[in-house]
Amino acid sequence: MARTTGAIRALKQIDETLWELPTSYKQGMRVPGRVFASERMMREAVEDQALEQMANVAQLPGIVGYSLAMPDIHWGYGFPIGGVAATRVPDGVISPGGVGFDINCGVRLVRTDLTEEEVRPRLETLISKLYANVPSGVGSEGMIRLSARDADEVMRRGASWAVARGYGVDEDLEVTEERGCMADADPDTVGERPRKRGAEQIGTLGSGNHFLEVQAVDQVFESKAADAMGITGRGQVVVMFHCGSRGFGHQICEDYVREISGMLPGYGISLPDRQLACAPVKSPEGRNYLRAMRCAANFAWANRQTILHATRESFEREFGRSWRQLGMHQVYDVSHNMAKIEEHEVEGKKSTLCVHRKGATRSFPPGHEDIPERYRAIGQPVLIPGDMGRYSFLCVGGPDALEKSWGSACHGAGRVQSRAAARRHLKGRDIRAELASRGIVAKSRGWASLAEEATEAYKDVEEVVRVCERAGLVRNVARLRPLGVITG
């Protein structure tokens, strides 16, 4: 990659893991940009387009502190992926593009009492059952068709709607961010089109980088935190899955970007990228977007709750024991595409901010009141998936996260290759067989979706996590290794 152009040369290194893009870089920047990255990543993996997008985000009215980027930063649309920006309430803005189309895309982790030795002989049939029970890929439909009334309930109640239907238990909600439901979600702010797109998609993974993995604990780095999360040690089997609000959320974002784009001149806002379209948090459009966004967030939690149920059922059938007997308790569920109204300290004063996390995970340190009681002493669990050939990480919120990143950390490895480049690169290779030779069973709709998500297309998530840990944004608790993979 050519490293000779604009933004990268304007960066100043602050410390080992932090780089700053001064406001002088681009006209209109209200605050500097800051990227968390190692020197090697900065040399090899951080794209100019992504830094350019970070500089654009720095122009949002009411932005406070810095336009931030996590070490998995890459080129997105509007915001960079891995971008975090907080705006002042009430005079700052909310940007639907700063949440993204896949509202409340997130990750859920479930533990089991099973060991790798017990699961390995049955891995093929287990993955086949999961593949059948959790529909994935383009055009997939779930087993549930939402009536208009159901849909309103999903939007208002989120994961607890699914629990009320028998898909899970209250205990699951306790270990879900926001207990799986954001308050002040208003179905009246959601039009017909999102409802139609979402009607058959509850309980489906979707496609792209969405996945479900059966994993084994590979190494535990911090046993006290691991204990609190039910992680017992090397060889323990866990399940991780990644998906969001499906077409429902995509359409809500689309509808509000269109509406808000038209209002920009009225609010006197001019932006370097139309995808950053935004409105004051307290304006009618801003409020309505937030209410609709929360409906999509709740839809995503209902979706992941339903997938948890389907996962437990698949295990029950494969192993002939109930999920409780199998010890299949949820560890946690995090969102990584969201805007939230949060209290943070700004220049020594408590302030209300609208924190956009676009491909970034909330990462609150120990003691924070928004963390479920059972985890308060260790910090909020932060789930960081890597690529399907290597490993994923279980972390907890780090001591410096609130001060440095509004309580945020990375959300994954971050792509280094486009989908097309990955396909070109891997042409002629039998990726399924290659994974199988390393003991990983993979199932997908076709060759392309495996190729696009292959190890080669991603940064090494271990390095991404290491940067977050050095910067004090997370503490690393355990490394998880894939045994079986379903990609969308």
């Binding site: 055009g139 496609s207 792209g208 077409g247 970007v257 995808q275 792509r415």
Partner: protein, 137 residues
């Protein structure tokens, strides 16, 4: 090719060309349809009328492609070919040819979450019109 795909790290984009404004809209739509579903597997058995309006030309391109994607996902209809019958800066009327989706026969490509405004361009050059649109995958 009236269209080609643009490399984007996380997503993908379409670069479309046409001698006229109508043609560049047709090319972009065919590019999107081919991304959603392998065109050789789609028969032209059904024709549908599509009408889209927007405040200006670039937004019209976004809304036009978003409509095709919406029909793919919600109506389960795969397009193969388009004819723009009438187009202004703010309104488009077209006829699309394709058929209802048959998962047994059609080869699906990418799921498109949305059509974005990022680096969006619809412009007139020396040899006609060109457009650039980035899609969220």
């Amino acid at each position: 090719m009236p269209y080609k795909y643009l490399e984007h790290t996380a997503d993908t984009g379409i670069i479309a060309n046409g001698r006229s404004l109508a043609e560049v809209f047709e090319s972009a739509a065919e590019g999107l349809a081919a991304l959603l579903c392998e065109p050789d597997t789609v028969k032209e058995t059904t024709s549908r009328e599509i009408t889209v309006s927007a405040p200006e030309l670039e937004a019209l391109m976004v809304d036009w492609l978003a409509e095709i994607n919406y029909q793919f996902e919600v109506d389960r209809f795969a397009y193969r070919r388009f004819k723009v019958n009438r187009i202004t800066e703010t309104e488009l009327r077209a006829t699309g040819q394709g058929e209802p989706i048959d998962p047994k026969r059609h080869r699906f490509g990418e799921q498109v979450k949305a059509v974005t405004y990022h680096q969006l361009e619809v412009k007139r050059g020396a040899d006609g019109w060109s457009a650039r649109v980035i899609l969220d995958i």
